[in-house]
Subunit: 330 residues, 2 copies
DNA sequence: TAGGTTTATGCAAACGTTTGTCTTTTTAGT
DNA sequence: ACTAAAAAGACAAACGTTTGCATAAACCTA
């Protein structure tokens, strides 16, 4: 520390923090010296003393891939703007890791934790500690239903509803659906949105048109083939995932079935490649980045409100239907 | 702290660390109590005292997107395995942010820093501090040439060379190249690989076949149209980016030119969508994940070797050519 | 039982800040 | 010039650990 060189102790601290009760002259001198000796403030020590680490913990199932990396981008951006450093962990879709990571984040004295749950996480036990210590906790995207905790999600139901409504408006009458695993909320809600949109517009529901699968590309091809084998094939497909819809598109091209004239297609997630297919794929954007931003903002609010027990808030983002050529029957 | 409840002080510390000179009985008692009171060790305090934060700083231009998020995945995986928490920053391709982030990471007392540089970073000044404090510094992917510092990159030259050689082996004789901005090393090296592969196989170099652009999809379509307008169009295109090659593919499809029979295509990066196009795109995989892992391993080595000034190492990963239908003229 | 080990624990300093309080110096008001 | 008030700075405690050293208890061995 630069103390000895000058003549002072804690004055240095105040000087560096531009405290009011330090004369301009010494303030200058301290800063000056700081530059010269390449003074490195020790954030750890400050954090320890102040009880504020300026650390925000984030845990996701995995970082790679379009969705989570975009959310992370949003998180980092607004967090750093508020002076927070972010620490990241991956659960690798594994509850045990989730437990360990929470432990680790708590030890690091993070001031808050943003979490997107692993697939097979069904209880809240390992978050009790966080709760007990009143550390702001915000779930995003993968949340636990019916839990009184802050969270930010997108309205999957609405996204699906809009997508299907759009198809109906384009004149489609027989709309199929690729549904994901129904024990996952996101897929369940998209399915509901699909059903309700049909109902709202007086279209009949044909169970044959709903193909439930794991949403991979090859599931999409298989699903499409099944649909084409029906007595009366659909004139549109709404998929809960972009991956499976692209599989469907491949089948249609191979069979020379025109998109969107013969069959219109809409996916979900607005993956990078949806703008690269031919025709480009209509898809529902999940506002990844905004989700990250909202999560951090929610965390910041909770931090403010620390004293009076903050009543958990639930932010529901509006998805955006991005209409592209795969569903535009102009 | 749990001290008062029992009868001890620093014994608790040793007990929790399973220090040898603590009786089994008290060790048990301490752990027991720790569970009961939900004791949270304060990593900050320990870090301060020990001078070891167990923090690893990572700075990338941006997190979202295929490449960096995959590298991050690799980094996080092996770092956490070694007990390191990782702190991430984004420079947003901006040198000023880069400076700020380095500062921030240093303050946080990270034990090492992994960096992928912003596009417009051309000097090393803001890393001097890191160097002076002998904090392990590892560059990955975006590095500064001719600098005596540890780094891990992939052999772009080799990747391009392999790709072009593959095309030649498939019988292509007139191979075009979409080249990226030549002031960026990665693109320059890929260009060199292209040139050398042609030369090595006795093919003539036609300047008309090299289209330099920004590598976006639309650049690819434009480039492809230019190439098709030539008196003698190419029979293959090797692009330094998957995005531009997909643009080219769109043009070819629209014109009913067959891929790969009439024109074969090879891209670079193995983006997610390369397996989703029709036909699927041959591409050069950049070993993103391995790059992250290697960077961390290098950091760990440097940490070991702290005392004896570690002589910087440079790891060059071998890219992998993934041959798919866009270039397979069976 | 004294002397010597071993084993188990306590003491206190230290890590680098921040901050409440107390002291000194300066300024100003009459 | 004397006092009150304001300004600038110093002291020391505190944050929660770790760790070298000292101490106390227990166990041997002769």
């Amino acid at each position: 520390m630069a103390k000895e060189l000058n003549i002072s102790v804690s004055t240095v601290s105040r000087a560096l923090n531009n405290h009011t009760s330090i004369s301009e002259s010494t303030r200058k001198r301290v800063w000056q010296l700081a530059k010269e000796v390449n003074y490195q403030p020790n954030h750890l020590a400050a954090a320890l003393r102040k009880g504020r680490s300026n650390l925000l913990g984030v845990m996701v199932p995995h970082i790679e891939g379009h969705f989570f990396s975009s959310v992370m981008h949003g998180i980092e951006t607004v967090a750093s703007k508020s002076g927070f450093n972010i620490m990241i962990c991956q659960s690798n879709e594994n509850v045990a890791n989730e437990r360990k990571n929470i432990e680790s984040l708590m030890n690091a004295q993070v001031e808050g934790i943003l979490v997107s749950l692993a697939r097979n996480t069904h209880d809240f036990k390992h978050f009790d500690k966080v709760d007990n210590l009143a550390i702001p906790l915000v779930f995003f995207d993968r949340v636990l239903e019916g839990l009184n905790v802050s969270s930010v999600i997108i309205d999957d139901y609405l996204g699906a509803y809009q997508a299907v409504t759009h198809l109906i408006e384009q004149g489609c009458q027989r709309i199929a659906h690729f549904a994901g695993p129904q024990h996952l909320n996101i897929y369940k809600n998209r399915h509901r949105g699909y059903l309700d949109a049909l109902r709202a517009h007086g279209l009949p529901l044909d169970e044959q048109l709903v193909y439930t699968c794991d949403m991979r590309t090859e599931d999409g091809t298989e699903g499409m083939e099944k649909l084409l084998a029906l007595d009366v094939p659909p004139d549109a497909v709404f998929s809960s995932s972009d991956f499976s819809i692209v599989g469907a598109m491949q089948v249609l091209k191979a069979r020379q079935i025109r998109v969107p004239q013969d069959i219109a297609l809409v996916g979900f997630s607005n993956e990078t490649f949806t703008s690269l297919t031919e025709p480009r794929l209509t898809s529902v954007d999940q506002r990844c980045e905004q989700m990250g931003q909202s999560a951090v903002k929610l965390f910041l609010e909770m931090l403010e409100d620390r004293s009076g027990s903050f009543s958990p808030r639930r932010i529901v983002l509006q998805p955006e239907l991005l209409v592209r050529e795969s569903s535009l029957r102009t």
